[in-house]
Symmetry: C2
């Protein structure tokens, strides 16, 4: 599949790259797993250079972003049987537009508070991250990484 | 305008009602101003009974929710000239589906951390809330409240 010309010049933010493991590409977003075993936590990063606010995407891209949020949220809920999905686009620290999709459990280290900053990140044992990523790849309709 | 039959039986959550001042109704969501002068902070509450996750809305409703998020975010940014918009659907405490749209400033009481729980809510002086609501009503295409 040819890369969308609107993604030309896009590059994943280095801090996001350090904090995550890649899952694959949906039509608009790169999907990544946060390397934090405290919560099953995905990031969706639209491959659009210089975007930092959802409202900077055009209306077609925004609708696609919402479709990809719903698809990843449903997959994460089905795989984890979590109690609640948290969805957020904050970007106060990393400017590159990214959306958090986090599986939350009553009794997780931050519940019922938001996950950001509540506990130090706890890296996955390698097998656990790989198992979750395999389950996600079986549910999501991913393109080859661009 | 006749009420959408899919909104039949919907009622605003009592805790959200206590914490906010109504702004008006967009086609899907009730728009409310959080009574917290620390940040210009809107809530969008889809008028759909029993919804607690974005993924429980159908695809047309989700696209409309995204359009209303973008519309309110753009209006709030234009009115406040804030540095960043934070958008989030958490729902760990109040189950009724609601989306936060928060204007953030470098130097606000929580920056760069998320706004939830960072500082005790600080009620608006009446004139300040009324002024912000008037500015929002001039920009948003609101229906009569249903």
């Amino acid at each position: 599949m040819a890369a969308n010309p609107k993604s030309a010049g896009w590059r994943l933010d280095p801090q996001i790259e350090r904090d995550t493991v890649p899952v694959g590409d949906l039509p608009l977003c790169r999907v990544l797993l946060m390397n934090d075993a405290n919560y099953p936590w995905l990031l969706l990063v639209p491959r659009r250079p210089d975007a930092s606010e959802i409202a900077e995407l055009d209306s077609v891209e925004r609708a696609q972003l919402m479709a990809e949020i719903a698809e990843t949220a449903q997959s994460l809920k089905a795989i984890t049987t979590c109690d609640k999905i948290n969805v957020a686009s904050l970007g106060n620290v990393v400017a590159q537009l990214h959306v958090h999709v986090i599986a939350r459990f009553r009794g997780d280290v931050a519940w019922p508070k938001p996950a950001w900053g509540a506990a130090p990140p706890c890296a996955y044992p390698p097998d656990a991250a790989a198992k979750l990523i395999t389950a996600l790849r079986q549910r999501l309709v991913l393109a080859a990484a661009t």
